[in-house]
Symmetry: C2
Subunit: 259 residues, 2 copies
């Protein structure tokens, strides 16, 4: 179990806190909200303020993050961007499916959501960039795993922790291998309650030069249940439109192509 760095996590908590409230907060409010001691909160806030990441929009009416966060985050996003073509693809998938769609990459034993467009419907799968799901137990992750060279995938699956999340959760490396094999033969990866309850979704592997991503369309099982095959075909078609007719032939010969 990896050691969590408390004060690092606190910075993230604070960052998320301000993103969700959208308002300046006083030391006392922050301390109260998190149940942090006043003195510790003071030290943390002072540190962030000293570094130019927090200021007082109006004196003595609370602290708020400075635009420095935005400025740095933009530089970071700009330097290693998701190609514009991927954003386009995602938008098209969102339009076609009217469900929540996302792109994910890998982070150790987890897949991380890199870009998300939520469904406009009231009942929908909700997620935001940065969300992590276990690699071996989700369609999103399996679609990524399917692109890895054999030894790397084996290494990853060996260290995975096979916890039971739902009825379909695979409980061994062998099971995951089998699911991947079947999914490649089927032409798409299916998430059906193996991790998230009542979720139905379709994932397609998306190798992009040397990055291994996946695209997923998912929604409540009662809407997606009967539309999976159709959705998968739509996704493959959209990907071919965006990246060329021979995209799968060149990068994913193992994947069955739907008509």
């Amino acid at each position: 179990m990896p050691t969590i760095v408390k004060q690092a996590a606190n910075v993230l908590d604070l960052f998320e806190f301000f993103a969700s409230t959208g308002q300046p907060a006083s030391l006392a409010e922050i301390a109260g909200h998190f149940g942090w001691p006043k003195s510790s909160t003071f030290n943390l806030i002072t540190t962030l303020a000293e570094r130019g990441f927090l200021y007082e929009p109006r004196p003595r009416h609370g602290f708020y993050p400075t635009p420095r966060w935005l400025s740095l985050a933009q530089e970071i996003a700009h330097a290693e961007p998701l190609p514009e073509s991927l954003q386009d693809l995602l938008r098209e998938l969102a339009r076609l499916s009217a469900e929540t769609v996302w792109l994910a990459g890998s982070a150790g034993q987890h897949a991380v959501f890199l870009a998300v467009i939520e469904s406009p419907q009231a009942i929908r799968y909700t997620a935001q960039p940065g969300k992590r799901v276990p690699m071996h137990a989700t369609a999103t992750g399996q679609a990524i795993l399917s692109q890895m060279p054999e030894p790397r995938r084996a290494a990853l699956l060996r260290q995975a922790s096979y916890e039971r999340f739902g009825p379909g959760t695979p409980m061994s490396a062998g099971e995951v291998d089998r699911i991947i094999e079947e999914s490649l033969a089927r032409g798409w990866f299916m998430s059906a309650s193996s991790y998230s309850q009542d979720l139905g979704g379709v994932s397609i592997p998306l190798p992009l030069n040397d990055r291994m991503l996946s695209a997923t369309v998912a929604g409540p099982l009662f809407r997606m249940g009967t539309r999976m095959e159709e959705t998968a075909a739509q996704m493959q078609a959209a990907i071919k439109r965006h990246f060329g007719k021979d995209y799968f032939d060149r990068h994913l010969p193992g994947l069955r192509q739907l008509p």
Copy 2:
């Protein structure tokens, strides 16, 4: 002397590091760059990754921040934005002066830069959002101080530390009061090496409903030295164009208006 929270500062360091390199970095690279122990670096990175703030763009080729930073920073900036009109004003000042221009707000004993447009010229004043300068010793800060109700300004100046930064640095509350008085009578605040060496600049207070900001145009003294009065007049004119002819009459009756 306020206690700095080391691991919180480390998160900020890391964030800035990625913004400046724009590349994924391995644990070893990060540890090397900062001189951090491998194990500590590991803990920190794990913490950020666990929370969905770091991922591996390509497995085993280093970590990089996820778009989650951007997403949260955008929410934060969107909730408490600098009015668009201020951005416009800033752009106009940048165009008119061809020097570096910025907007600043207050953070305790410091003024923080909230928005910056750098001069296109090779020799220029360089700054980024989040930069902090002492309130009492800079034109930017004094222009903010000039807007505060008397007791608050007095309190602030009482606790200020009167360090000598350059020839013109004020060394007591009284001196600052005098400078503010003179500057209001002059119609603008002058920074001339009282904090930054060889810097010449003009600041104008910018009260915006209950926020107390200031706008500054600054560059190397050899370019700005003879243009200050002219620049100040341009700034006042631009502000009046953006916020109405009677802006100063209504919000800053104490400030001399230039022809």
